[in-house]
Amino acid sequence: MADGTSRKALSANGIVKRFGEREALRGIGFEAHPGEVVAVIGPNGAGKTTLLTILAGIAEPDAGAVETSGGGVGWVPQQAALYRRLTVSENLLLFARLQGHDDPAARVEQMLELTGLGVRRDDQVGSLSGGNQQRINIAIGLMANPSVLLLDEPSVGLDPAQRARLWQFILGLVADGTAVVFSTHDIQEAERYAERIFVVADGGGVFNGTATELRDAVGSANGSDFDLETSFLAFLKKEGH
């Protein structure tokens, strides 16, 4: 889990992103520490994916800056970004080569061991289950040994068992010091796996803290004994979203 120091794996300040006249992100600040799991939650269209793509360096912000500790950022898109006609090892080998690893074949072996998919190495990705495809998807995001891993709704479409296996895998990375930032619509998943919750609404960062702090933010009068999802909805209502 987080090392408890002020060392940051990733920080962003004053991030603004516009799509034409629409301002998708309005001066958001964000940070993640090594070994920390941060959940980014918010209503549809709040700007979660836009924020993650900017943090990953895929999209350029119109204003603001993103800084990393130097270990790089791994990006795992919501839908598996894999070539379905290639095998598991061919997909891994392609990205290892594109990332310029000195020994791509050795890196593929490490990733196969990490994902536990060595026995499926010669299977075409299209023949794998959604959960296994997502493991390969994450493995490619991890291939460059990033200090921060950004996942856009990683458990969408997975059944509970697949979701549990996926999180077991992710938490293994966290234990090794990787900062994990993930977006989700599943508030229970955020509460269960994230140490910190970052709420985005209407392009702004409206909350940054633990699940307990989110409950406290709506106060006992609003039912602090409620589950987190109810508290989250109450919080959004209170904030005028």
Binding site: I58, W75, P77, A81, L82, R84, R85, L86, E90, L98
Partner: protein, 447 residues
């Protein structure tokens, strides 16, 4: 970029249907076109009923055709079925066994012979066609018209020859057979000579004046009828075409057909493959990951154009190798047509990349590729002289914006020395590679 190219080739190898199409398509096209080029046109079947009495002949002026020869004249041009009556000939056409029937009436020989008499009659033959096939009717019509035109010309020549013989008889005199009796004709030249001799023995001035008139008439008639012979020969074939070819020698029809086939195969394979392959990057969600610091959009574009160029070139080589079984391919010119194919493939690949980048979806890219390529290719095949100057200009401008025409010109020139110059189309193709790659690069910004 090489890893992207390798990845695309691996994906291609994993798509058995696509791979099979890429290999089978050029071979199948080569077989079809090869057979079409080497086999002559199929002959139509025509029923022939010759109603002329046995032993009677057709013709005059020394050359005559009997029934077998009439049949041979017709059946050299079409497959014949002999019929025993007009009704049977008609039935054969109606049943589809014959495309048409030709009925030679019993009085055809007499009517043709009458053309050289004082009471000429118009000879006619009857042609029966089946109205159910417009195309076959047109072909049979053309062949029968050509046959009749040939026969009419022959008859006109024979008539002219017969008339010349009569003129010679009138001019020079000789023996003439009429109703079984030989008649001796003095002729105008001999008449003039005889009258001149008689005139010298006549003393009466009035008689001599009359003889002078007769001698002058004979002299004038001889001079003028001497001109009638060449005129008769001329009107039997009034215009003779002397063909003179100017400008560059045109490539053979076979070469043009091969180049059209190769250009079509190159276009469809390359545009569809590249458009689909680029759109697939989006559909498989891989584009975002690739461009997240791994490779640039330009490198992805170059990889796709490279893929299309390699596969397109391979397709042309397979196609030409297949066609070489049927027709002669100038392998000594292989460097030129390989370069033409390479540039053509690159230009079509750039078009495919632009379409794939613009559509971002495999199905939409495929549909757009077919709907855009086909009209451009067909417009490119319209000969310049087949339309008016204004439309020709429009077509030239429109087709210049697409690689089919320059690719066709480069391939035609590459396959045959006498074809169009290859260098200008090659430069044209290079410009199109740059233009369409530019379009694709712009479209990839919003991919």
């Amino acid at each position: 970029m090489r890893w992207l190219l390798l990845k695309d080739l691996q994906i291609l190898r994993r798509s058995p249907l696509q791979l099979a199409l890429l290999v089978i398509y050029p071979i199948a096209i080569a077989l079809l076109v090869g057979f079409a080029l080497t086999r002559g046109p199929e002959q139509s079947t025509v029923a022939l009923y010759n109603a002329m009495p046995a032993g009677s002949t057709l013709g005059f002026g020394g050359e005559e055709l009997n029934g077998d020869e009439i049949k041979k004249q017709l059946c050299d041009r079409v497959d014949c079925i002999e019929a025993d009556s007009t009704d049977q000939a008609s039935d054969l056409v109606e049943s589809g066994e014959a495309t048409a029937a030709v009925v030679v009436p019993e009085d055809l020989g007499d009517k043709i012979a009458s053309l050289a008499s004082l009471n000429p009659q118009r000879p006619e033959i009857e042609v029966i066609v089946n109205g159910s096939s417009a195309v076959e009717n047109e072909i049979v019509d053309d062949r029968i018209e050509a046959m009749l035109a040939e026969a009419n010309q022959l008859i006109a020549q024979r008539l002219a020859e017969g008339a010349r013989e009569y003129l010679d008889l009138i001019l020079d005199g000789g023996e003439f057979s009429l109703l079984g009796q030989d008649i001796s004709v003095l002729g105008l030249k001999n008449s003039e000579k005889v009258l001149t001799e008689v005139r010298q023995k006549v003393n009466d001035p009035a008689d001599r004046a009359k003889l002078d008139q007769a001698i002058r008439f004979a002299s004038l008639a001889t001079d003028n009828l001497d001109l009638a012979g060449p005129i008769l020969t001329a009107i039997s074939e009034p215009v003779v075409a002397n063909k003179t070819e100017v400008g560059d020698e045109a490539p053979s029809l076979d070469t043009f057909a091969i180049a059209v086939t190769a250009a079509f195969a190159l276009m469809f394979v390359t545009v569809l493959l590249v458009a689909g392959s680029l759109a697939l990057e989006k559909e498989e969600n891989a584009f975002t990951r690739l461009t997240a610091g791994l490779v640039s959009r330009g490198q992805i574009l170059a990889g796709k154009v490279g893929l299309g160029t390699i596969v397109g070139l391979a397709v042309v080589v397979i196609l030409l190798a297949g066609l070489s079984v049927f027709v002669s391919i100038q392998w000594s010119r292989a460097p030129v047509w390989l370069l033409s194919s390479l540039l053509g493939a690159a230009a079509f690949a750039a078009v495919g990349a632009a379409l794939g980048a613009a559509t971002r979806e495999v199905r939409a890219a495929t549909l757009a590729a077919v709907m855009i390529c086909l009209p451009f290719a067909l417009l490119s095949l319209i000969p310049d002289d087949a339309v008016g100057p204004a439309i020709e200009t429009v077509i030239s401008v429109v087709t210049a914006a697409f690689p089919f025409r320059p690719a066709l010109d480069a391939l035609t020139g590459g396959l045959e020395l006498s074809g169009p110059s290859v260098w200008l189309p090659m430069v044209h193709l290079l410009i199109l590679v740059a233009v369409y790659s530019g379009f694709a690069r712009i479209a990839l910004r919003r991919f």
